[in-house]
Amino acid sequence: MSDNGQTPFEKLVIDGVTIELARAGEGPTLLFLHSVDGIDPSARWFELLAERFHVIAPWHPGFGHSELPPEFRSVDDLALFYLELARELEIAEATLVGVSFGGWLAAEIAVRSTAPFARLALVDPLGIKIGDRESRDIADIYAMSQEELTAHAYHDPSRRSRDYSTMSERERLAIARSREAYTYFGWRPYMHDPSLRRWLRRIRIPTLVAWGASDRIATPEYGRAYAAAIPDARFELIDGAGHYPHIEQPDRLAELVLEHAGLDAPLPTAG
């Protein structure tokens, strides 16, 4: 994003809610649901997916510069919103991909309806409780310093140094709004929906659960339990990645998603 007012995002009104989204590429539709980090259409993961898919990547209501309707209180509302979005954009036979919080959302959508989707890929999704009441399945990011948080979230924390001072006002506000919305939806119960694990069995489309081997926000063990709750889900570990494999291992993740979608042709080499 730049300061000249141009952004790679278009505005769209879905069910009365004004959101921003990025659309790119041609091919079968892929609906990408982002993590708290948002959407960067210039990132390699986005470009790789847009090589083979028609990628639709909306900013969730409340995140980035998308509107948060006052009556939206939980991920339930976001899930139903996305089913409305799928209806209005006539999404069909699509691949639904979600990372982290977006993975949680994708699971919430899929337990309600998989009608618009042919397959699902969950990448380090949050959203379920597996341990006992005194075990914290998901690291408490609100009790960590920024340095600790980066160490938990990345295989190689040095990759993640951002200079916020050089960003545009718009971009900084998008980050602040995203963090606020993430907190709003994830504060309590902490980053999960107590009912979700019970209903994951309703997901009857081919599902890939991909997990960063170095994820310490939610560990691969949590990921295996997630996959085990979804009928016939395939679990794949991604080496060299933490909680955000799309950032740390975009090629491997794209390869897995393409394979999952039956699009096995070779990818362009990393540039």
Binding site: A143, D163, S165, M167, L173, I175, A176, T183, Y184, W187
Partner: protein
Amino acid sequence: MDVYHFSEQPYDEAWSAAEEVDSLRVTLPNRLCDPRGAADVINRRLDEWVLCDELGINVMVNEHHSTATCLSASATIPLAMLARETKRARLLALGFPIANRAEPIRLAEEIAYIDVVSRGRLEIGFVKGAPYEISPANSNPVKITERFWDTHDLILKALTTQDGPFNWESEWHHFRQVNIWPRPYQEPRPEVWVTGGSMATALSVAERGHRFATILGGWNAQKLFDGYRARRLELGHPFPGPDRFGYLVLLGIGRTEEEGHRRLHEVAGYFRTTSIVGEPFVNPPGYMPARANAEWLKRNQLRGRAGDHFPAMTRDGRVLKIGSGFGSGEGVSAADFTDAAIGFTGTPDQVYEQIVALDDHVGGIGNLLLMAHGGAMSHADACDNLTLFATEVLPRLRERDQSEAVARAQERVEAARVASAA
């Protein structure tokens, strides 16, 4: 002018541990709290409030959670004890962090009980609560202001409804049969106070006509009080008198100037410790508006930084580094505290003059809130601090005519209205 005494009931024995764990709040393990030491702290502070009752000074308590800076985890508990142990003093809770309290009806019941036991001496204060209170309560930091006002409305309705149960199904609270027993002693309810440091809060409080108090707000209080006054006039109410305003300040008074300054520096242990908070707890997302957080990002500041509290400023605009942890504030002189109007100190005559200067500036303070104990100050010093104030300063404050200060405030507010209308 009414005077209140306030102490956070700090447990200073654990303060040195903060150098290792980097936080006196939220994460400081309570093995560092020796219950025998805590018993001494709490009983001495309660004794000081009982002394206040004899001296003609009112009582103010507060609450914080999971912290060695304040052992009072519920403002109603000390007030419930003091309701029986005192006879005359007004009993002020300033306040209840109602956006973090899960059970507003329970709080309304406790408020009514204390008001009844004390035969109408309770004053209730509502506070947004500091950001590091979010984690101990596990309350969502997002939409905290909306939750605050909804909870406020519910509690006041519970306190004032006398004709049977009412229904409350709001965004934040769900009760179908609200009907508290006993009901408050005072009709229609105890006075309500709200603290604030921003104009937005001052205006919200003005709209409801509550008492508005600034906590260590310094000279900026004039602007906030004037904003409150203007809003009252705008809404067609009479010009608000001094009783609508509270101002909290540190007190160190002595028989000699030196003794007063020593006491002020002891009370100021509050400043040296209150902002020692682990980085993640200083500014949870949503506590501040997103635009304010975007400004923090501009400085590459993602989380909080201890010491961002209390950017105290002198009347001539000099910024004092008072609240940034151990060692900080030590270079701040007694005169600096006075120049910033956050600490009154010296001999009784000097303290009186300092109060008068502030009172004139802000247009009449009806309620002077004194932190006459803080930090590691001894019980003996706290008692003497209070006694000297009560015998040497309080009588003069009682006699003080605030009408000129109020008249000047009125002229100032009227002139600003004319200017903005033009």
